[in-house]
Amino acid sequence: MGVPAELRYTQEHEWIAIDGGTATIGITDYATQALGDVVYVSLPTVGAAVTAGEPCGEVESTKSVSDLYSPVDGEVTEVNEELDDDPGLINAEPYGLGWMFRVRVTGGAPAPTDLLSPAEYEALTKSAG
């Protein structure tokens, strides 16, 4: 199960890629395997303010629905509109075409202590069984 080394992770099984002051966010391979086929994702609107640790959307799969959280404070600058027509991209390429939304991070960078390293995330998924 993939846990790319260049990303950071959250307890909610999301990944975050930080490039300058912008964070790109999606859900992990582990999350997609636990959810099964994603059939619909409700994303925040561009321009919306998001708060770290608070729900900003929903991920619907065949068997369940999960909240989507923002891992950082900031303003949504872009959402992946392809997912509206093809939510299967999330299962097929969770770290690539299945990305979900981008946030301009308040203060330019997230507090690094709030995010998990790849090794820490891998340990989390192993302990979850």
Partner: protein, 361 residues
């Protein structure tokens, strides 16, 4: 007592296929092998294999087996011809549903009762108590169950069995062999498609599964419980614990036809069921088609206007229809337009006839 999770005879096969396993009714079962949507679509368009070895199998035998079952369940098993099957229910004295069953008449003096895994012990206990004039035997541990479902099922199974499938009607079965292994082969299922259920010895499950898998180049796909649930929901088939339970009678579920007052003799629940038939059901099971892409789930409130009017019993994104669908119990006399309270936000939903999907249309 330490609860143990049981393995089906096909555990190793599921592991080899990389299945995501889940605990279901005390059994470790395949939830999905890959994409549950692909598994669902395979059943609708071609065929797929299911391991249903968790189901309970109980034999009721002896010269008085038919009459004993007539008393025990609300259907009329003694009227079945040998080789035919019927969907029926086991009810409590108050008319509440203890389980829904398929009963096969395998011989003049032998009936096979197939119960839901979660209710197998209850059914065994009730049949043992109610069928004193017959021999009731728990055959679950000695029986594996493999199902092949889909429009191609007949064509794929036929070369592997000595039972002539062309003459086998829906809800009929016969003894034969599959891949040389003895089996009871029945044209039944829980998907809304043509298909067969193959009851065989646990030790024969793997060779039968492998032979069926090898019927198509690249392997006949396997389907897990996730696909089984969306398939039965599209077909409008109730699931015990969702649409059926001890707090409803067959009338609420729209299945009053399973109650056979025309059979001779008394049966458990007769008085209560007759009263409910006369007074009318206390709730109505309906189909709903969601007007948004948010998915109604078990337990979500159904709204009539802004008032709560019922509850969703099962809901899922329908792969065949491309929209979320649900079954729900409505209070009698409720009228639309309907909505569903999906996590605090009302979403529109349209009442639709059941089933959502009918292969003959």
């Amino acid at each position: 007592m330490i609860p143990t999770v049981r393995d089906t005879p096909l555990r190793a096969v599921h592991e080899r296929l990389g299945a995501t396993m889940t605990e279901f009714a005390g059994w470790l079962m395949p939830l999905r092998y890959g994409s549950e949507t692909s598994e669902h679509n395979a059943v609708r368009t071609a065929a797929a294999l299911f391991d249903l070895s968790h189901m309970g199998e109980i034999a009721v035998t002896g010269p008085d087996a038919g009459a004993a079952l007539d008393y025990a369940v609300c259907g009329w098993p003694s009227a079945l011809a040998v080789g035919r099957a019927r969907y029926t229910m086991l009810c409590a004295p108050d008319g509440g549903i203890l389980d829904d069953l398929i009963i096969y008449r395998q011989a003049a003096e032998r009936f096979l009762v197939v119960a839901n895994a979660a209710n197998a012990d209850v059914v065994l206990g009730e049949l043992t108590a109610r069928c004193a004039a017959a021999v009731v035997t728990d055959e679950s541990a000695g029986t594996g169950l493999i199902s092949i479902q889909g429009p191609d099922a007949s064509g794929l199974l036929a070369p592997l069995t000595d039972l002539p499938l062309a003459g086998l009607r829906y809800y009929a079965g016969g003894y034969g062999t599959v891949a040389g292994r003895p089996a009871w082969i029945a044209r039944t299922g829980y998907t809304g498609e043509d298909g067969f259920e193959i009851f065989c010895a646990p030790a024969d499950c793997e060779p039968v599964w492998d032979a069926l898998t090898a019927t198509v180049p690249g392997g006949l796909p396997a389907a897990g419980l996730a696909a089984r649930d969306t398939l039965r929901l599209e077909a409008g088939m109730p699931l015990y614990g969702n649409e059926l339970g001890p707090d409803v009678t067959p009338y609420e579920a729209g299945l009053g036809r399973v109650v056979r007052f025309d059979k001779p003799g008394d049966f458990v629940g007769r008085e209560a069921l007759a009263a409910r038939a006369a007074e009318g059901p206390r709730a109505t099971l309906i189909g709903l088609r969601a007007g948004s892409r948010r998915v109604p789930r078990h337990g979500y409130p159904v709204l009539s206007g802004t008032e709560r009017a019922g509850v969703v019993t099962s809901g899922a994104p329908s792969p065949t229809l491309g929209v979320p669908i649900a079954m729900a119990y409505l209070e009698p006399g409720t009228t639309g337009p309907f909505g569903i309270d999906i996590r605090g936000r009302a979403e529109p939903a349209e009442q639709t006839e059941l089933p959502f999907y009918d292969r003959r249309k």
